[in-house]
């Protein structure tokens, strides 16, 4: 089947544009035909095979080549869908929102330009993965720790730009970025913050420079192409003490979250810790059929069996303490005391865990910034491999946590799936991420998932809960829930879009932001 074309572009004009791209990057770095398949969403949700299909891909090796590509794209009106490494598989991978787009694959731009141990930062290109940066630091024996998301193959730049989270005290990745280089849609290059001052030496040290702080408009957006980014790194602490606290009842989530809030606000809880549900943790190392070879969510009796077998709870709070023992001992006492009154609570350190593999042993690596792919184990729970993340944000209150859990777990189970959720503790909020694992080979299951997802978005929005990130299939839907004051925020986004990218060549549809010529009829 021929690859789709974007609206308004003929096959002949697209072929001409691709030939121009080949002259810029070399023939080996423009991918068409069979080679485009690796840019498809491996966990596609829609049963419409024509959706989210790239026409081709181009992989520049430098920011200069990016500049040249966008100039050609403007000339031919070719939509470019930018990906750093394209490994964000729960949200669409490298696939574009708009079919017919040419994927601008930045994975060849993988230079680690600087790692500064003295000041604790790195300056990297978008193709640098967490595995890459970790190995670079380890090979040189630098006393720095990364903060990693669950899949270690992702882009350091891409994850921060997509507001990804990790699990050390540096878990807010966009919050830890400092200084960008951006290629605008007209091909002009800008550096943000202190980077705009010639000869300045604080580009990766001070975010704001002088004047408006613009870095945020290049995150989850289509206003420019980030070609370099600074990221702050944590100095290796004098001590590290990961822990697991388990809770026996699902309803305990209310009391657990109430205990967490003061710990977090007072920095007793230092890291972006997570409260993880039973099935999410169990699914990393076992499969559903090993316990319950039937359709539908597992019953309570099976849940209790899993808890006993794996020494985990209905909720499992994975956190860590960082610093010299004199400090972490005090922090641990305060942490333990905060949860001690919850009936059935159990406290573990790694030396208490004898099973292998084990959730705390695994998470202890992640909470010290070791990149891994272990979390993909949950895809095997049903055997079918597909997954999508539903990610509403909540205040850190027990009332909100249990309300969200009831809403989401209820709907998920009604639709025949197991609830696999976690609540990641931010500075003032919880990211409630529910992973729905489905059989991607079954069109009926994909349809059921799609109906469930849209229902949950509507119900969450009705209660004032918004998603912080989403799959390409739902970007318009989620954007539509941020509609206060007659959609004034989206109007502002569109004004910026039209000013910076009048031809609409950069990532049409990203976060629901469409260029002027593609807006009609797309409002949710």
């Amino acid at each position: 089947m021929a690859e789709p074309l974007p609206p308004g572009l003929t096959a002949e004009r697209m072929a001409e544009a691709l030939e121009r791209f080949r002259k810029i990057v070399g023939r080996d770095w423009v991918f068409a035909g069979d080679k485009v398949a690796s840019y498809h969403d491996p966990y596609t949700i829609s049963n419409d095979a024509s959706r989210h299909k790239a026409h081709a891909a181009v992989a520049p090796g430098s920011a200069d080549e990016v500049q040249a590509i966008v100039k050609v794209a403007n000339e031919y009106r070719v939509p470019l869908w930018t990906v750093s490494r394209g490994k964000n598989f729960a949200y669409g991978g490298a696939a574009p929102v708009l079919s017919g787009s040419v994927v601008l694959d930045l994975s060849r731009m993988n230079r680690i330009l600087e790692v500064n141990e003295k000041f604790g930062y790195a300056l990297v290109e978008p193709g640098v993965s967490y595995f890459d940066l970790y190995k670079y630091i380890q090979d040189r024996g630098l006393k720095l720790w990364l903060d990693v998301p669950d899949p270690g193959w992702g882009s350091v730049v891409g994850n921060a730009l997509d507001h990804g989270v990790g699990y050390t005290p540096y878990g807010d990745h966009f919050g830890m970025q400092c200084g960008m280089e951006v290629v605008l849609a007209n091909g002009e290059m800008v550096r943000t913050g202190m980077g705009s001052m010639p000869g300045n030496n604080t580009w990766q040290l001070f975010k704001y420079g002088f004047g408006p702080y613009v870095d945020g408009i290049f995150s989850q957006s289509n206003f420019g192409i980030v070609t370099k980014m600074g990221i702050w790194l944590m100095s290796e602490p004098a001590g590290y003490r990961p822990y697991l606290i388990t809770f026996q009842r699902e309803e305990d989530i209310e009391q657990v979250v109430e205990a967490i809030r003061p710990l977090r606000l007072n920095n007793i809880l230092q890291n972006a810790a997570t409260i993880r549900s039973l099935v999410l943790d169990a699914a990393l190392f076992t499969t559903k059929s090993q316990y319950y070879p039937q359709a539908g969510p597992i019953p309570d009796s099976v849940a209790k069996q899993i808890m006993a077998d794996q020494e985990i709870g209905m909720w499992n709070f994975c956190g860590a303490l960082y610093g010299p023992p004199a400090i972490t001992d005090v922090l641990w006492t305060a942490t333990r005391d905060a949860f001690a009154s919850i009936p059935g609570v159990k406290f573990y350190f790694p030396e208490d865990r004898k099973r292998r593999p084990d959730i705390l042993i695994h998470r202890a690596d992640t909470m010290k910034g070791i990149p891994k792919l272990t979390e993909f184990g949950f895809l095997n729970w049903n055997g079918g491999g597909g997954h999508v993340g539903f990610s509403p944000v909540s205040p850190i209150t027990g009332q909100d946590a249990i309300k969200q859990w009831r809403m989401v777990s209820g709907r998920v189970r009604e639709h025949g799936f197991d609830y696999m959720g976690l609540m990641a503790v931010g500075f003032r909020e919880l990211h409630h991420v529910t992973v729905i694992v489905y059989d991607q080979s079954d069109p009926k299951e994909r349809q059921k998932l799609d109906e469930l997802f849209r229902l949950m978005v509507r119900e969450a929005a009705a209660e004032g809960y918004g998603e912080y990130r989403t799959h390409i299939n739902y970007m318009d839907t989620i954007a539509g829930t941020y509609g206060w004051n007659n959609g004034s925020l989206m109007k502002m986004h569109e004004t910026i879009k039209d000013a910076l990218d009048p031809n609409g060549i950069l990532s049409p549809g990203k976060s629901g932001i469409w260029p002027r010529h593609l807006r009609a009829g797309r409002k949710s």
Binding site: D28, W29, D34, K35, A37, S38, H40, P42, T44, G61, K87, S107, R108, N110, R111, I112, G127, V128, S129, F131, D132, K135, Y136, D139, G152, W153, L284, F285, T286, T287, S289, Q290, P293, P357, K372, L373, T374, F376, G377, F378, L379, N380, N382, G383, G384, G385, S441
Partner: protein, 132 residues
């Protein structure tokens, strides 16, 4: 054919045999007796590697380096996530021939033939620490 995404599930286990008739390594998920039996029937015990679903240690300790050497034949009876992650990692450096068949609810039988991409020889695709 290079790169096989999206793959087509095939009904017959025997159909996967030719792509990696002489695999360099065989991976089997030792949590499942059926995987152990099937891998054992392939009769190349010295090449067998027991795994438990997570590709991370296999990749970072061995396969990442092995695949840079040129052609690599791998075969496995594992969960889908192991196969999927291995494929995604391999295809950064290699052209792949992939065949996969679902054995049961939990297990997939697969064969991957990975050939280093010609333009990877410039090391341009690799990260700076590989060039150091």
């Amino acid at each position: 054919m290079s790169v096989a995404l999206p793959y087509a599930l095939r009904p017959c286990v025997a159909a996967i045999a030719p792509a990696a008739a002489v695999p360099d390594y065989i991976f089997f998920d030792d949590r499942f007796a059926r995987a152990q039996r099937l891998a054992a029937s392939w009769s190349v015990a010295e090449k067998m590697v027991a795994v438990q679903g997570d590709v991370t240690p296999v990749w970072t300790d061995a396969v990442d380096h092995l695949t840079r050497a040129g052609r690599l034949g791998l075969r496995g009876v594992t969960t889908d996530s192991f196969r999927f992650c291995l494929k995604i990692l391999l295809e950064e450096h290699s052209d792949l021939d992939l065949e996969v068949s679902r054995l049961d609810q939990n297990l997939f039988v697969w064969a991957i033939s990975a050939t280093l991409k010609p333009n990877t020889g410039t090391l341009q695709w690799l990260s700076p620490y590989h060039r150091a």
